[in-house]
Symmetry: D2
Subunit: 259 residues, 4 copies
């Protein structure tokens, strides 16, 4: 049940467009949002994680087969350029999630190709980008992702995301957010798909300094630890032809669950 | 909460290849599996449903926009030719499910494009086609789909489908099946996706007369009734820009949930 | 799957103490809260339900074995006198819920003996009785209980109930409420226990005219329809000694699931 | 998110009656079933746990306030004498579970007072004590409790427990068992109640040497690790009066979730 004792290998994927094109975003995230997210994870996990970053404009968006094979948990932030992510890379990431790679989808990543492909739904929601205050409440107090997080914690300015959020009912509902306009959002949810674990966390936007906030960084770091699979190796779920009483004699049976 | 009082408009989609190519299948299902499935629904729902059938080889596989707009519940059986179903039709069916069309996926439909797209997983499983006896047990006795169904009921000969079945944890687990080889399968599961309701039911195979069996027909008919959405109209989930206090003043707000 | 065609037999249980002792409550609910709740159900279900009321001060609190045997759905409102409800009556109601009687628990009923006994938890929460505005949002738009209910609907003045609400994760999360103070609450949740269906709905308080509000009455009526079991008869779950292959030969087997 | 680094403090509660009264049980479990269970945990967790045992006939059944305060995870095996467990001790254990103590309920503990109190249902099932072979299948392959456990594993002789098992739908379904008679059982399920984590695991009986089996011991040890709460201290869920904007100013607010 225990983790391997090597550091968790985390890759933060950043779209990195707003930062290039909008000075007001660059002012908040001068090194790119992905770097700020990375620092938040390092701040919390220290030597327990090695965190690298890749971006949309890297070859193959930085997500080659080799990179993914060596990634325990992928963190995804995208917004303006979801459509520029190639279908081939999305297929590759999807395959690795089903085989056991953890995935954190942040904020506007709700409309990324990879999240839509994993959820099977439209992932639409309500939104408003004004000066809403967001309160994040814990509804699963024993969940590892909620540890060390005030109840509630306050994000002074944030884009509003509201229900109805068209996603499957989550395996676990961890956080609920309210906004000063009165809206509500299921802001922290976990899903298992294949052998992979997925955490969606909605706080975070290019227009606000949300990823500099201590509590948000703590949640993301907790999410990274949680999303690490405890399965010993990465294997694809496969269709298995299964002879009579194979399970009984135990020979010549190979497959994902033959652990 | 009550149903519309018109009959449920059901379309049974049949791949209809085994029946054409294999005499032993044609012997069991001389009019095609889709016709036998249709008869089972009619037998149980009588004037409560109008059931039609379409097949893979129909133009647009029989699933035109017009057909789907007029379908309350679609029943899907496919096996040998999943890859021949066009992506365009799969997109269309997917959109209608999210907008509120009910969907029953039967047996080997677990590997259809539409089911995979809705689940987001590999939908792989274990299987063996021998002379297994399948017992179907109810684990949600208050569920409408389980009413009038013996606990357990026995399918004398059936293909074995076994765990691990790579699908999301269901919203509701209704049936569990065991096989004479000792395997187990989550054989009746419900999911909501968008505004649509989905029921997966694993019994049924081209090599065995399963769809002639009374209990199987009862479950499918119950599933059809359950999958009928109670929402008054079919609307897509859409992304909504939502002005401050729109919900409060109540005007100029349009969208799927503005009911 | 279809209902029996007789009207749903509903009993509204009212504690009926605040109305007797506090003139300001009597001013809002001159005939007792239970009568207002009853009228709301009748208004929506018409001839589809026969609704009666009983109160704490009736012999056996109005919940004799005979009354419960003839009740399809029990609606529970209590607050100040939970401890005066006799354990014997609580046992009796509990047994009937497990055997298939529907139960709606309203508002402060969260701390009733019967709800605690069914949940197994402390059912504690946060609260504040000021002039909060409550917004009730739908997060399960295909759920029967959410039909015909605006998204959101607004309760102008209401007691605040906030998370963390110590209850089991629900089978279905239907509504989320936000309050003008920024709090959030899982305000509509369903549970199955034994063969019975339970709906908890938090809006409603003796100090505010909530049960006169159209949307609240609609939700309660929807809840009554939903909580009606579709099982044909009321039977207790029982421990069953089960001989080898009884299920196979099908004789001499009796019990709750032998339907 | 990480555990405290001290060993997990485990207490195995054994009814210890069959072992005293039935020579054939004593032959299988000469030191008592609780000792065998203890050894299985120690074998797997080594210095990661300190395991002690108490029995029904100890003063206060060995479960004093002081013992429970110093217990991280309680493991419960009882069968013949459920009714002899005092209600006062049951209340005490219940309070500690809600406050964060982990609980493993084994086999016939399904009918213990403490499990019934936490579930809120009858916890009835089907059973047969013959020479059934039980196969235990994993349906949640990423779950920590399933790690290092063959899929399936085989218990050569075991009492049959079959559905319908009258418990709430679990938070997580980890294992399903099949029996040579064809029955099925949800044999590994997790629940959260209050701040405590509960794992029910059905294999194990006084008449068979199940607790000597390697795979069963591994599952129980995994369950102990999983059930350890990650909350930093044990606190009861409490009802909280919550003044306007308390969460905002952050002072004078005390309670279970004020972490």
């Amino acid at each position: 049940m225990s983790h391997t004792h090597r550091p968790i290998r985390v890759v933060v994927w950043g779209e990195n467009r707003h930062e290039q094109e909008q000075p007001e975003v660059a002012a908040i995230y001068p090194n790119g949002m992905h770097q700020t997210i990375r620092e938040g994870i390092e701040e919390n996990l220290g030597s327990g994680a090695t965190v690298t970053t890749v971006t949309l404009d890297d070859p193959e968006h930085g997500l080659t087969e080799n990179v993914l094979e060596n990634t325990d948990v992928l963190v995804w932030w995208g917004h303006a350029a979801h459509s520029e992510v190639s279908d081939e890379v999305v297929e590759r990431v999807h395959r690795h999630v089903l085989a056991g790679m953890g995935l954190l989808v942040l904020h506007s990543g709700h409309w990324s190709k990879i999240f839509g492909k994993l959820m099977g739904t439209s992932c639409t929601l309500r939104w408003r980008s004004e000066q809403d205050r967001e309160l994040v409440w814990t509804v699963d107090p024993t969940h590892p992702i909620a540890q060390g997080v005030p109840h509630p914690f306050i994000i002074p300015q944030q884009e509003m995301y509201g229900e109805f959020f068209d996603v499957p009912a989550p395996d676990e509902l961890v956080f609920l957010s309210t906004f000063s306009g009165g809206e509500v959002f299921r802001s922290g949810m976990t899903y298992k798909r294949g052998f992979g674990k997925i955490f969606f966390f909605s706080p975070g936007d290019q227009d606000y300094p949300v990823y500099h906030q201590k509590e948000v960084r703590k949640v993301i770091a907790n999410g990274v630890e949680w999303a690490l699979t405890v399965r010993p190796e990465r294997t694809d779920p496969v269709l298995l032809r299964y002879e009579t009483e194979d399970f009984y004699v135990g020979h010549d049976y190979r497959g994902a669950m033959a652990n």
